[in-house]
Amino acid sequence: MIGQILIDGITSGAMIGLGAIGLTLTCGLLRFANFAQGEFATWGAYFALLIAGALGGAAPLGPLTFGWPLLAALLISMGLTALLAWSLDAVLFRRLRRHGNAIVLVIASFGASLALRSAVEFLFGPEPYYYSRDIAMTLRLAPGMRATADQLVVLALALVLMLAMHLLLARTPLGRAMRAVSENPDLARLAGIDAARVVRATWLLGGALAAAAGVFLGVTVQVRPAMGFELLLPLFAAAILGGIGSVPGAMVGGLVIGIAEAAAVPLAGAQYRAAVAFVVMLAMLLVRPRGLFGGRAA
């Protein structure tokens, strides 16, 4: 029971963490809560659906339900969603930033999120899609602890992406510049950092990671227009839990939220998933608004 909660919670938590990285970065850098972040996951999942479809069916890999076309689609979709996130900033948020209204940005992102989701619903309809019709093979990891091969591979890929993101932030000049702008934009300008370039990179990375989260969600659950919307509260919860601006915080926050949701399902029922994230987030905001990792203050 506990083991099952852990494995389910960690898998969905890893996806939440992936999506929350972009959220926490843009929130830390641009000081606004982007309600459209969840939709990047939705678009990522649908991009991959189209691309994998176009690449055609290939035999599934080993015990998985999907083959290399989906892996290729994952990469291409990450690229496309990165461009989507970047263009949303270019046509909407960047111009509104010039007016200098942080809260207007939030309203705009709320509108953008509904528009993006409704566009998907218009194009694909409300019914769910699956990357594969195959039945996922279940492995017994320990007594009372089962996971599908898909779940494990997705978890591994998510962890690899998180590690890569962590290394990028910690070790590369771009990562250094991102941390610098996030901490002190004025000083970053004085030090010769082009903040606009850093912001661009942040949208691209955040969009790509959210797309990966969406594809992984599609592999383990299903592809639906509302998938990103339902992810939104968990994403916010993870970002706030980990401390706004903190990438390791978002990852850990994602895991905590994932496990809390999985633990709450047997108690309250699956329909309250989103509410669980909300309650955890509210508790965090009231008790320790800087988050576990001491990000920006509330």
């Binding site: 809260i103 528009a115 409704s118 989103a274």
Partner: protein
């Protein structure tokens, strides 16, 4: 002809009910700078309260006290105010964008409760047979529509006048002062938290009233009515009309509701058969574009506040 006229009456009635919600949001955001993204939640609370109070007893849901509609609307305002007092007491001290996230979360949670607590709410099927005002006139569509419109107009006018007085009163001035410069206002001995909570609660009561009006005019409610799209509509109305201005709020409500209705009709005419079922989604995209365009081109809306709407927003984000 009568058909068109009674349709126009119904259109205006609904537009005005949105106007009441927009007025409530304008008090919260336009006057007090409180960023409420949970409008749908408060409207839902009001709608269910009114339905419970006024509907006839039914097995499918709780309540059914068959009380007069006026009582139902009063109860709706009280219920929404109560929920707002609880949510506000917990969240109003948070930074603006955290307030947005938490009110959003509260509305999502309320909607989940409406879906799940079937014994209370009728679950996904909602509550039907909510009595309509002037039901005795129902067989004369034009008189029925006109009477309902008159009722909606009277309620909206009352809300408008009350808010105009309220925002011009010393209380309203303190509110605006708080919004512009909390430290300065607080140093004058005004307790910011209390004023904010009052504005939040009064605004929510109006939003609850708007939910109750719609429940009564449509005669039917379901959890699906209170999705974030509702919040979004009211926000677009306020932004398009001009935050900080009650006239603007009403104008925005009517204009956006007209746009919403017309775009629905237009899509039904233009879209080929298969796509029609999905027309509703395209409508949301369209109105999202209207919002973005308004924010970019006319950040103060059709009629903005006289002074600059928001120095506070520049700082609110941190």
């Amino acid at each position: 002809m009568t058909g068109l006229l009674s349709y126009l009456c119904f259109f205006a009635t609904v537009a005005l009910s949105y106007g009441v919600a927009t007025l409530g949001l304008n008090l919260q955001w336009g006057s007090a700078g409180l960023f409420n993204v949970g409008v749908a939640g408060f409207a839902g609370v009001g709608a269910y309260a009114a339905a419970w109070i006024t509907a006839a007893p039914a097995a499918a849901h709780w309540g059914g006290f068959a009380a007069p509609i006026a009582l139902g609307w009063l109860g709706a305002m009280l219920a929404a105010a109560l929920v707002a007092a609880v949510i506000g007491a917990v969240t109003l001290r948070l930074r603006a964008d955290y307030l947005a996230i938490t009110t959003f979360g509260a509305a999502v949670t309320l909607q989940l409760l409406a879906l799940d607590l079937t014994a209370l709410t009728g679950g996904p099927f909602g509550i039907a047979f909510i009595p309509k005002p002037f039901e005795a006139l129902a067989d004369r569509p034009l008189a029925f529509g006109a009477a309902n419109l008159a009722l909606a107009a009277a309620v909206t006018a009352a809300a408008f006048l009350a808010l105009e007085r309220l925002t011009q009163s010393p209380w309203g001035r303190v509110l605006r002062a708080l919004r512009e410069d909390e430290a300065a206002a607080a140093s004058l001995g005004k307790a910011p938290a209390r004023f904010r909570l009052q504005a939040f609660v009064i605004g929510a009561a109006l939003i609850g009233l708007s939910g109750a009006m719609q429940a009564q005019f449509f005669g039917f409610i379901a959890p699906d009515n209170y999705l974030p799209v509702f919040t979004f509509q009211v926000w677009v109305m306020l932004v398009v009309g001009g935050a900080g201005n009650n006239r603007g709020a009403l104008l925005g409500a009517v204009a956006v509701w007209a746009l919403w209705t017309l775009s629905g009709t237009a899509l039904a005419l233009l879209l080929p058969g298969f796509w029609q079922a999905r027309g509703a989604a395209l409508r949301v995209v369209a109105i999202g574009v209207v919002l973005a365009a308004t924010l970019l081109a006319r950040p103060r809306g059709l009629i903005g506040e006289r002074a600059t709407v928001s120095r506070h927003v520049a700082q609110a984000g941190g």
